[in-house]
């Protein structure tokens, strides 16, 4: 699981935020305050220009006080009536077509999705979820952006606003109605895509009889058979059978099969583990450098992507994860082994080939962060870029060769445990990011996880609807749509947008990059000093500060998406779901307020 941004606990996220940022709520209030002030100023300037300073001030004052009063006069019945109207309208506008498109996509998906990828589930899940997201956002966009403008065009709005309907109710009713329609669509899509993924990836194999070889244990006793399955869905599995002819087709292509004896044949059952919802508990990662000095990050091996940093082999360089709240409750015991289950992802970087065909060895060691008591090292061979699910045994020897208990002796009184990983081979490197080691809690239900992912799509949809409805209070249909589309597009590329605004992207601001484009200068070349350059950069400075302002309200659609969790088989953390829902609420509230004032100050009959 690649997690470039750490997911903070909900309360921390809401109030104080992570390091170097502020909490979501204060941030929301700041933005609201800023926007409110800006809106007030703009409103005053416009009405003062129209009606003179005194009357303009009066109008602004009355608009605001009316707004506050009308908020209290909001009637759920009216909102609901308008929501129902929006739903009927959506239905009449053939929103069902979207479902048909969705089913067509599913039917033809197999043209473009091949099952010969190493992890077909990842591909299938990310495909259907991404398709759903785009489709639903598209529908949300079309519904929301064109509805109000159509009312204005047909003048049906006349009969609405001459009733005691508050402008806020019109915005909320629309938002609610389209959200409900979208929710129904999403529900149908969610169920069908779940079925689609499971049905598409389900398959069985035959046991390849010719490949079976008898296995004997050290004493020469017959203990079972080894072999492989037939080639189905572009892959095979290694097979291990016991003396009864039952066993398991080992994990390959992200799943495994059980093999049972039916009559005199060993039959391979359907695929298992295609969809998983691993529940990780992440710790905090720090490093020791090659001299054993604590560092925040390991070294770079020159990769452009700085997600992981590396420890060099056969030195004191160590990756140290500190986990909180360790208790025997986390213990896993299946009778054979007992200990703390962890998942570990190691990215191997070799500076020489080493022994071709053999992995790089490393070591795992647990340590009590308070007493400094350390266990003896547990050697392992790195599985590059795959999840190594292993168990740290409960009974461990210390460096002093005495026997210790993991939970009693290595966990500090405040529940902390350190797990240290080193690379043992000189000239080879292990790369880690914080989420690369986690405590494995029991898997959550994939169905619930699916729901959570759909909830995140729902959140995106609601935000788009809110933006669309708000934009359409002021703009004509196509313009409102374009406005919303640019919000979505910029939202999907928010990090880049912010990068350009903050000046951290190569190639400069919009004018400078345009200049580079037409003069065919690459993005690294320094521009010649001079008036033109200063002018360009000056204008860009204005643009960039505008962009930076805008970035404050731009939803980060890429970060809202939880498709990657489902695709990689991880449970979406509850904190993330709550954060997204809160964010959604913030957008709806904020946009409703903006929409209210836009609609309220608009002359309906123009």
């Amino acid at each position: 699981m690649i997690l470039e941004e750490q997911i903070l606990p909900y309360m921390q996220w809401l109030w104080s935020g992570g390091p170097g940022s502020i909490g979501a709520l204060p941030r929301f209030l700041l933005i609201a305050l800023g926007l409110g002030f800006l809106g007030l100023l703009l409103g005053f300037i416009v009405s003062a220009a129209r009606h003179g300073i005194l009357r303009g001030g009066d109008i602004v004052y009355r608009t605001i006080t009316n707004g506050v009063r009308e908020l209290w006069e909001t009637s759920p019945r009216r909102v609901w009536a308008l929501a129902q109207l929006a739903m009927k309208e959506a239905w009449r506008r053939r929103v069902v077509v979207a479902l048909m498109v969705f089913f067509i996509i599913l039917v033809f998906a197999s043209w473009f999705l091949r099952t010969d990828h190493q992890d077909p589930a990842k591909l299938y899940i990310s495909f259907v979820l991404t398709a759903t997201t785009y489709l639903v956002l598209g529908i949300a966009l079309l519904l929301s952006a064109f509805s109000l403008p159509a009312d204005f065009k047909n003048k049906t709005i006349y009969t609405i606003v001459t009733k005691p309907v508050r402008a806020g109710e019109i915005v909320m009713g629309r938002t609610l109605g389209f959200t409900l329609v979208g929710t129904i669509l999403l529900a149908i899509m969610g169920v069908s895509s779940y079925v689609f993924v499971n049905r598409s990836l389900d398959h069985t194999h035959e046991v390849d009889i010719n490949s079976l070889k008898k296995v004997q244990d050290a004493a020469g006793e017959y203990i079972g058979q080894d072999g492989r399955t037939s080639l189905d869905a572009n892959h095979r599995h290694e097979v291990e059978l016991n003396t009864d002819g039952e066993g398991k087709a080992e994990s390959n292509y992200g799943h495994y099969h059980q093999i049972v004896k039916r009559g005199d044949r060993s039959v391979v059952l359907g695929a298992e583990g295609i969809m998983r919802a691993r529940v990780p508990r992440w710790g905090k990662l720090t490093f020791l450098d090659r001299q054993g000095v604590p560092k925040q990050r390991g070294i770079s091996v020159g990769s452009e992507w700085t997600y992981r940093s590396f420890v060099d082999g056969n030195t004191q360089a160590t990756a140290i994860w500190t986990f909180d709240d360790i208790s025997p409750a986390l213990n896993y015991d299946d009778g054979e082994v007992s200990g703390l289950p962890i998942g570990l992802i190691v990215r191997v970087f070799r500076t020489h080939k080493g022994v071709i065909g053999r992995g790089i060895t490393g070591s795992i060691q647990v340590r009590n962060p308070e007493t400094g008591l350390a266990s003896e090292v547990i050697p392992f061979t790195a599985l590059d870029a795959k999840i190594d699910e292993r168990i740290i045994p409960q009974k461990l020897r210390g460096t002093d060769d005495k026997e210790y208990d993991l939970y009693k002796d290595f966990v500090s009184p405040n529940g902390q445990l350190e797990i240290r990983v080193q690379c043992l081979e000189g000239g080879q490197y292990f790369g880690f990011a914080q989420p690369d080691m986690y405590l494995r809690l029991p898997d959550a239900s994939p169905v619930v996880n699916w729901l959570k992912v759909y909830a995140s799509i729902w959140v995106q949809m609601v935000i788009v609807i809110a933006i669309g409805v708000t934009a359409s209070t002021l703009l004509s249909g196509p313009v409102a749509m374009l406005f919303t589309v640019s919000f979505i597009v910029l939202g999907f590329f928010r990090p880049f947008f912010v990068g350009v605004a903050a000046g951290t992207e190569y190639g400069g601001g919009p004018v400078e990059s345009f200049y580079r484009l037409i003069t065919q200068k690459n993005i690294i070349t320094k521009l010649d000093e001079g008036f033109t350059t200063s002018l360009i950069q000056g204008v860009d400075l204005v643009f960039r500060s505008l962009m930076l302002t805008m970035a404050q309200v731009l939803p980060d659609f890429a970060a809202l998406s939880t498709v990657a969790f489902a695709a990689l088989g991880f449970d979406v953390p509850a904190d993330k779901v709550y954060q997204d829902l809160t964010m959604c609420l913030a957008y709806v509230i904020g946009l409703s307020v903006v929409g209210y004032f836009l609609l309220r100050t608009r002359e309906v009959a123009r």
Binding site: N66, T156, I160, P164
Partner: protein, 298 residues
Amino acid sequence: MSDDIVIQTRALGKVYRDFWGRQKVRALKPLDLEIQRGEVLGLLGPNGSGKTTTIKLILGLLFPTEGEALVFGKRATDVSKNERIGYLPEESYLYRFLNAEETLDFYGRLFDMSAETRKQRVDELIKMVGLDRARKRQLQEYSKGMTRRIGLAQALINNPELILLDEPTSGLDPIGTREMKDMILRLKEEGKTVVMCSHLLADVQDVCDRIAILHQGELKELGRVDTLLTVADVTQIRARNLTADCQNEIRQVIARHHGELMEMDNPSTTLEELFLSIVRDSEARPGRRANVEQTTSA
């Protein structure tokens, strides 16, 4: 301000501007108008004279450039005044995908009416405007007259005290027109205030207490219909069953008093009257060609 004044405009004016704020059209020159409770006021004038603009300003659909309009003592931009207002727009701008019941129910809910009240009221109104048989049909299948009627029904859903009608008879056949006029008179009887605008003079004449004549955004004339239309130096005599002799005698009497006889003949009825009597006749005896050759006043 007295409770009896329902609408009051003070120097109400509207200027349409273009995008750059330049003055384009002066749609309404400062207008002072007071409308009393229970009154039927007709706004008269040719197309583009500012009638509709006035109504939209009163409703708050437009914002005044100068002056203000007060409805029930509240500013026109105040939404809560709408509780007591019914409005029938120039064309019935309704949701064509709803049927009559749904439409009325929807507007009823916008008045925050409870379900029972709504049901009762919807039923009442549908019967009143005579759409009982078409209550489940979508509005897009309605004829112009039916649309107009459902439009009127939605305007009355809240049993309003003030009713604003924009060209209430436009596009209606003579029967529809008459029914509309009867409806207005009935509303008047119920003590409601009605403001209507029209360019069909006959309609206004029949139902209005007062009329205001607008031309090029300016109020030209305002007063009671009877006063306005009385021609002081002309006397009209209408009599029944006069013989030719009697008529001659009357001529002589007039001549003797140095009066000028302007007209004495058998009056022709209005086409409207004729049409209505034909329809009544055909309804009474369906399938026969109407036989109304000579009309006598009944």
